[in-house]
Symmetry: C2
Subunit: 288 residues, 2 copies
């Protein structure tokens, strides 16, 4: 039997399931890439489980959500697998990629760059929608017909955008403190101008609010949690744009605003179990 | 009103309570020290809550248990506060303190060193049993008459030792993968020879198995979880010594061995909620 096309960095039993960290050579990125998988206790080759892809935020890695979001216990209980990706290519060697914390390394924005030099490696869009699912669903007991997507901050942006663009692929969508309207805020404008170039029409394909304005819909309710003491609320997140766009589009959305909570994983962990239940409900018809 | 004798590094709402990270000038250590406090939602000046002190293992800090053990949700639910300490003094400037990962910085072993040069700063024993409780219980809504102690690895050693030495102070005790018999294993022998000198009689005061042999008892059952795939099981942890000593001493002990689990916080987080329930039950008479 051929060896799987990835290397095991570590695997540990956790909540009766298994959490593992892996490395592989990514064709989409043209570089070595890291990912993590949590398999619940009930997974077996003849009983593949639903899977939720988790996307982290600026400066984070494939480890962050698994370590800090405290989602594994509920995923184990409900029989849901989790797959985590890194937030950008690493080591592309592009001048300037390590200069800023909100652009380049750690800030791939889950899109496919079209402008040189970024277009040669910064292709996290196809990586998380095509290459990574194909890889893990071929080698772990995952049911690719029951896929969800969730994320935090920049990862919340990724979850909303890809969920809206391909609702037949991502059957459940949720986000913590997402960047909902990147074309209108500094983080997104900086990233999109570099990755996608000056034509702002091209930016709309990676902006959840614009996608809703342009007719994209998800048949299932989208769950979003937002802390009202979030230090990025006014400048970068502006969740009211999502609320308004969803309302106009008649897109089912549960946007919950929480007094006192900030942008950190102390916030994320406080509601992570509810997000896992949201996905389990939509992916298994049970859960809750 | 006088300012509290510590500096707030950060505070965040978490599970309806508040997690905070603080710095103060420690008299016991003669250095600046860091600690962390989680206050559950129901804490108030006129309703102080029980408090469990958590001790981390080699190389860790006051952040590790709070971030990785996933204990805050259950602590919030049961109305228990958590206080976390660092694992050693930092920046004592003693030659050799940063040479090894299992001795010196990050490896204070929760004892009071008696041998120069370590005796001038390495006094984590009095720090966690006296200075830190006095500080936090004066400035947070904590009920010092309802104190528990728990820890992981070297921190499990600290919890067992201090719990047995002062059961009237630490009314509930638990440990994950503790060093139960440091005088008999390499980690402990290296630390004790340096911190306490060659007289092995003096070592017994910081060895849970020796304390049981020497007549120390805790009136309440002690909870210990141990993974059987722990990479340090045979060489450093040897939980059978604790089981035998507790049996001979008629010390109530629940020692649970878990197939497949290793030494990591993936193991700790799998059973952390049960430990919080153990402490809540003993400290509040309710819980569970």
């Amino acid at each position: 039997m051929a060896a799987p096309p990835f290397t095991v960095r570590s695997e540990s039993v956790c909540h009766g399931g298994r959490v593992g960290f892996y490395t592989h050579q990514s064709a989409a990125l043209g570089l070595e890439a890291r990912f993590a998988v949590f398999m619940p206790p009930n997974a077996a080759a003849n009983a593949p489980v639903p899977v939720v892809y988790v996307l982290a935020g600026l400066t984070c890695t494939e480890e962050t959500f698994f370590i800090k979001a405290h989602a594994l216990q509920e995923a184990a209980r409900l029989g849901v697998a989790l797959v985590a990706t890194d937030t950008s290519p690493r080591g592309a060697g592009i001048e300037g990629e390590d200069t800023d914390w909100d652009f380049g390394t750690g800030a791939g924005f889950y899109l496919d760059a079209t402008i040189a030099p970024w277009s040669s490696h910064y292709r996290m869009g196809r990586y998380i929608t095509q290459e990574l699912p194909a890889l893990v669903e071929a080698h772990f007991a995952l049911d690719g017909t029951r896929r969800g997507i969730m994320g935090h901050s920049m990862g919340g942006h990724g979850a909303l955008v890809h969920g809206l663009r391909a609702p037949q692929v991502w059957k459940s969508v949720s986000a913590f403190a997402p960047i909902v309207h990147p074309t209108a805020v500094p983080w997104g404008q900086k990233a999109f101008a570099n990755y996608l170039g000056p034509d702002k029409q091209a930016w709309r394909a990676y902006d959840a609010v614009c996608l809703l304005q342009d007719g994209y819909r998800h048949p299932n309710p989208i769950l979003v949690d937002q802390g009202l003491a979030d230090q990025f609320l006014e400048r970068e997140l502006q969740p009211w744009h999502l609320r308004d766009a969803a309302h106009k589009a008649q897109q089912p959305l549960t946007l919950r605003e929480h007094a006192g909570y900030d942008h950190s994983y102390w916030f994320v962990q406080s509601f992570a179990a509810e997000h896992i239940r949201h996905h389990a409900r939509l992916l298994t018809g049970g859960g809750a």
